[in-house]
C-alpha cells in the first residue's frame, strides 16, 4: 500500500479558507460512491465531475491546493449542481453536502463572477422594493394571458428559449381551477371562531419573496388552514426573503444579512413556531444555525430560530388536520427535494392530502428525484434543467391526474412551466390550497357551503 499524502498549504483563496474550516465536513466522505445513483445530473451526464462524490472531490482538491478555485472545472461543475441534496440521505457517512455546496459556490463566485442573469436575479430578490416591482409586472403578464401565450409561441431554442421558459414559469403560477369551482377568485371571509380548535400555539408565517409575489394565495391558504386547526397566526412585519436563493447561488454575504434580519424580527415577535410553505425556504431557515455558525452571539439566536421553523405540512400533520368537505379530484404528488432530502419530510404532505375527502393521490414515478427547478436552475441551465424537467413532466403526465400537487413554489413553477409548454391540461396546486378549498366548502370560514357539482 502506498498512500499518496496531500501537500499541505497552498491554500490561497478565501474558500480555500472557508472550506478549510469545513475540513471536518469534507473528511467523512469515504469515496464510497453511494451517492452517485441519487444524483440527477450524474444520472443524465455520466461524468463523475457532475456527481456528488466528484464535486466533493473537486472541493477537496481546492482545499488541498491542488485545484484552482477559479478553474473552469470547479466553476462549471459546482454551478451545475441542482442543490437538490438527494445525495445526503443516501450517504452512509452523513456528509453535509448542502452546506459544503454553499461554501463552494461562495468560493467559486468570489473567483469568477457568476453569469449576469444570476447576479441580476439575486440582486433583485434581495431588495424588497425591486422584487415587488418585478412580481407586479409578472402578475400583469400572467393576468393578461400574455405569459401563457409567449410560453407557447416563442421558439424552444436559441436566445429566446430562456425567455420562453421564464414566461411559462410565470404562466404556471396561476391558480388551478379545481373541479367544482367556477372561479378561483374571491375566496373566503375570515375563519369563523367556532372553526378554530384552540391549540393555543402562536405561529408566524414566512411570507417569502416569490411566495408573496406570485403565490399570495398560498400564503392566504396557509394562514387560514392553520387558524382552522387552532393556531394563532401572528403577523410579523419586517421579515424578509429567507436568503435560500442567495446561499445556493454562492452569495453567502447577502444570505447572512437576510438571515440576520429574519432571526431578529421573528424572535422579537415571540412566536412559538415559524411556519413555512416553501420547502426551499424552510430548509434554509432550519439551517440558519449553520449559516451563521461563525457569527458569535447571532449563532445561538439563529439556532433558536431554526429550531422553531416548521413546514406547513409538518404542523398540520402533527395536529392531524381536521377534515373538511370533499374536493373531488385526483392529484399527482411529487416530493420537493428541499422537503424530502433537506428536511427529511416525506409523509406529512401526503397526510395533509389524505385529510381531504375526495382527493385521490397518485405518487408519481421517481417522485424523489429533483424536477430540475431548484431555484433559478431552470433559467440558468436551460439545457440540463430542461431535460430533467421534461422527465418529471412525463412522469406527472403518466399518472393522468387532474393536477400535480407539490408543496414548494420552485417546483410548482418548474413543473407547471413544463406542463404549460407541453400544452398539458394538468393544473398545479400546493396541498394547503386544496385543504383550504375543502375547509371553505365545509363552511369553516363562515361562508355558506357553496359546493357545486363539477360541470
Amino acid at each position: 500500500m502506498s498512500a499518496v499524502s496531500v501537500p499541505p498549504g497552498g491554500v490561497t483563496s478565501r474558500l480555500a479558507q472557508e472550506l478549510e474550516v469545513q475540513r471536518e465536513r469534507l473528511l467523512p466522505c469515504v469515496h464510497c460512491g453511494f451517492c452517485l445513483p441519487a444524483c440527477p445530473t450524474y444520472n443524465r451526464l455520466g461524468d463523475e465531475n457532475d456527481s456528488p462524490r466528484g464535486r466533493l472531490h473537486l472541493m477537496k482538491a481546492v482545499v488541498e491546493g491542488r485545484l484552482d478555485p477559479a478553474s473552469d472545472a470547479f466553476h462549471t461543475h459546482i454551478d451545475r449542481c441542482l442543490g437538490c441534496r438527494a445525495c445526503e440521505p443516501v450517504c452512509p457517512s452523513g456528509v453535509e453536502y448542502g452546506t459544503l455546496l454553499e461554501l463552494a459556490r461562495h468560493t467559486a463566485a468570489e473567483h469568477r463572477p457568476q453569469g449576469r442573469l444570476t447576479r441580476m436575479l439575486l440582486f433583485v430578490m434581495a431588495s424588497r422594493a425591486l422584487r415587488s416591482l418585478l412580481f407586479a409586472g409578472g402578475r400583469v403578464l400572467r393576468a393578461s394571458g400574455l405569459a401563457a401565450l409567449g410560453a407557447r409561441a416563442l421558439p424552444s431554442a436559441g436566445v429566446l428559449r430562456s425567455a420562453r421558459f421564464g414566461l411559462a414559469m410565470l404562466a404556471a403560477t396561476a391558480a388551478w381551477r379545481m373541479p367544482g369551482v367556477r372561479s378561483s377568485r374571491g375566496v373566503a371571509a375570515p375563519v369563523s371562531d367556532d372553526a378554530k380548535r384552540g391549540t393555543g400555539r402562536r405561529v408566524a408565517v414566512l411570507t417569502g419573496c416569490v411566495q408573496e409575489g406570485l403565490y399570495g394565495r398560498v400564503n392566504q391558504s396557509t394562514m387560514r388552514t392553520l387558524e382552522a386547526n387552532g393556531f394563532e397566526v401572528v403577523e410579523v412585519k419586517g421579515q424578509d426573503c429567507c436568503g435560500a436563493l442567495h446561499a445556493h447561488g454562492g452569495d453567502l454575504d447577502r444570505a447572512r444579512a437576510l438571515a440576520k434580519t429574519n432571526v431578529e424580527v421573528f424572535l422579537a415577535s415571540g412566536v412559538d413556531l415559524v411556519v413555512v410553505n416553501a420547502a426551499g425556504c424552510g430548509a434554509a431557515m432550519k439551517e440558519y444555525g449553520t449559516l451563521l455558525e461563525s457569527d458569535g452571539d447571532d449563532h445561538a439566536r439563529a439556532r433558536d430560530l431554526a429550531s422553531r421553523v416548521r413546514d406547513v405540512t409538518e404542523v398540520l400533520a402533527e395536529v392531524g388536520p381536521r377534515r373538511g368537505a370533499a374536493v373531488e379530484c385526483s392529484v399527482a404528488y411529487d416530493h420537493p427535494c428541499h422537503l424530502l432530502h433537506a428536511q427529511r419530510i416525506s409523509r406529512p404532505p401526503l397526510q395533509v392530502l389524505d385529510a381531504i375527502p375526495g382527493v385521490e393521490v397518485r405518487v408519481i414515478a421517481n417522485a424523489e428525484e429533483c424536477c430540475g427547478g431548484a431555484g433559478i436552475y431552470g433559467i440558468t441551465h436551460p439545457d440540463l434543467g430542461g431535460r430533467i424537467g421534461a422527465d418529471k413532466v412525463a412522469a406527472v403526465r403518466a399518472v393522468g391526474a387532474d393536477a400535480v400537487a407539490t408543496p414548494n413554489p420552485g417546483c410548482m413553477m418548474q413543473i407547471g412551466a413544463g406542463l404549460v409548454m407541453d400544452g398539458a391540461p394538468e393544473g398545479v396546486v400546493h396541498p394547503v390550497e386544496l385543504l383550504d378549498e375543502s375547509y371553505r366548502r365545509a363552511g369553516y370560514y363562515g361562508e355558506p357551503s357553496t359546493q357545486r357539482s363539477p360541470g
Binding site: 499524502s5 464510497c32 451526464l45 455520466g46 473552469d72 450517504c91 457517512s93
Partner: protein, 470 residues
Amino acid sequence: MTRSLTAAVARALGDIVGRDHVITDPDRLVVYESDGLTAYRVAPRAVVLPGSTEELAAVVRLLHGEGIAVIPRGAGTGLSGGALPTLDGVVVGTARMNRILEIDPVNRLARVQPGVINARLTEATRPHGLYYAPDPSSQSTCTLGGNVAENSGGPHCLKYGVTTRYVTGLKVVLAGGEIMELGGAGRTADGSLDLVGLFVGSEGCFGIAAEIEVRLLPLTEGVRTLLGIFETMEAAGHAVTAIISSGLVPAAVEIVDNATIRAVEASVYAGGYPVDAGAALVIEFDGTEAGLDSEADAAEACCHAAGAREVRRATEASQRAKLWNGRKKAFGTMGRIAPDLLVQDATVPRTRLPEVLASITEIGERYRLRVANVFHAGDGNLHPNILFDRNDPDELHRVEQASLEIMKLCVAVGGTITGEHGVGVDKRGYMKLVHGPDELAAMAEVKRVFDPTGLFNPGKVLPDVEAAHR
C-alpha cells in the same frame, strides 16, 4: 504530471462518442484519480464515456491503435484499486451504457449493458417476480460490469453463490476493439471451454464486458431475520460454525464487532444494536414460509448455545430493512470515526474464524491500530477495517505491517488474500503468498491470450509487472 492526449486523438475520440463525453481537462481528470480505495491516486490522460457497444469497440480500437492503455471503470466503488488509472492510460467508463436491454421472464434471463446498477436490475425484474441474486453491500451503486470484473459477492451469496454463478453469457470488447460473444444461455456447446467463467473476475485485464447476460431467480416467499447479540467476537464466531455445520442453510450470516456497532449506531443508519455488545450476528433465512420458523428456531438455539446474550427476531419488513441497513452501510459510517480507512478482505475456512478473529485483535493491539470488523461470516469472508490517519507516517507504516501480518495469518490457516474485492493494485504484493511462480506465469499467459498487447488495465492483479503508477 499527466501527459495530455494529442489533439488529434482527442478529436477522434470526440468524433466517436461525442465531444461532451471525452474529458481531457487535467482539472477534471482529478475526479477520476481514485476508486473506492483512496489510498492511491493517479489521474489518467483522459476519460471517455461511450454510449454503446459499437462506440466502446471503436474507442478501444483507436486507443490500442495508438498504443494507449485502457482502464475500464464502472461506478468506481472497487476497494482494491482495480479502476485506478495509469499516468499514460485512458479511463473508459461505462456510466452511459446503463440500459437494461432485455428481461426474459420465461427463461429467467436478463441482458444488460455493463453500466447498469446492480440494484436497478432487481428493481426492474421484481414486477416479474424475479430478482438478481448477488447483492454486494454496494449494490445500490456498483455496476454489473464491475461485478463481473470482480466476481463480486455479497451477504446472500452464502446461500446463492457469487456473480460467476449467474453470468451466462457475455459480449466483450477485446484487444484492438474486437467484439466477441462468449457463452450464452441455451447455446452451450458441450465440452467447450468455459470462457465466460474465465472472463468473470478478470478485473478489467482481459477486455471490457459490453453486454452481460445473467440468470434471475424467483423472489422468495418469506424471510426471517435474526440478530444475535454476543459478548465477544469469539463467541459469535462459534455460533457461526455451529449454524453452518448443523445442516441449516441460511441465506446470510453477517457479523459486526463492537467498533462497527458504535459507528453505525451513531449514524443515520442506526439499526438498534446495543452499543456495549462485543459482536452482533445478522442471520437470515429465506424461502418457503412453511419451513422458516423452525430454521430460525434452530439457529437461535445455536446462538444461545454459543453464549448469546440475546437473540432478536425481525418480523416486519421495516425492522428487517433497518437491521440490514446498519450492516450494509457500515463501511460508510466509518468515515465518521477516523480520517482514513483501509478495508481489508480475506477468506478463511469457516471453522477457523474464532481463532483468526482473536489473532486479528491481537495484531491490531500490537500495532496500536483500531480495527473494526464487519463481514460475511457465513462464508468465512473477513473484512478487518483498519482505521488510521494517513498524515501520520508512522501509523501508515504500522497499517502496512499489520495488513501483511493479517494476510499471512489467513493464508496460514488455509485461507486466501481476497474473497471478493479482488487484487487490483492493492493486493498484488500478496499474490505470492498464495500462488507459486508457475501459477502466476500461467495467469500472465492467459492474460496474454485475451490481451496480447497488454493494453487492458496494466499493472493490476499480477505482481512484478512494473506499473506506471508506482
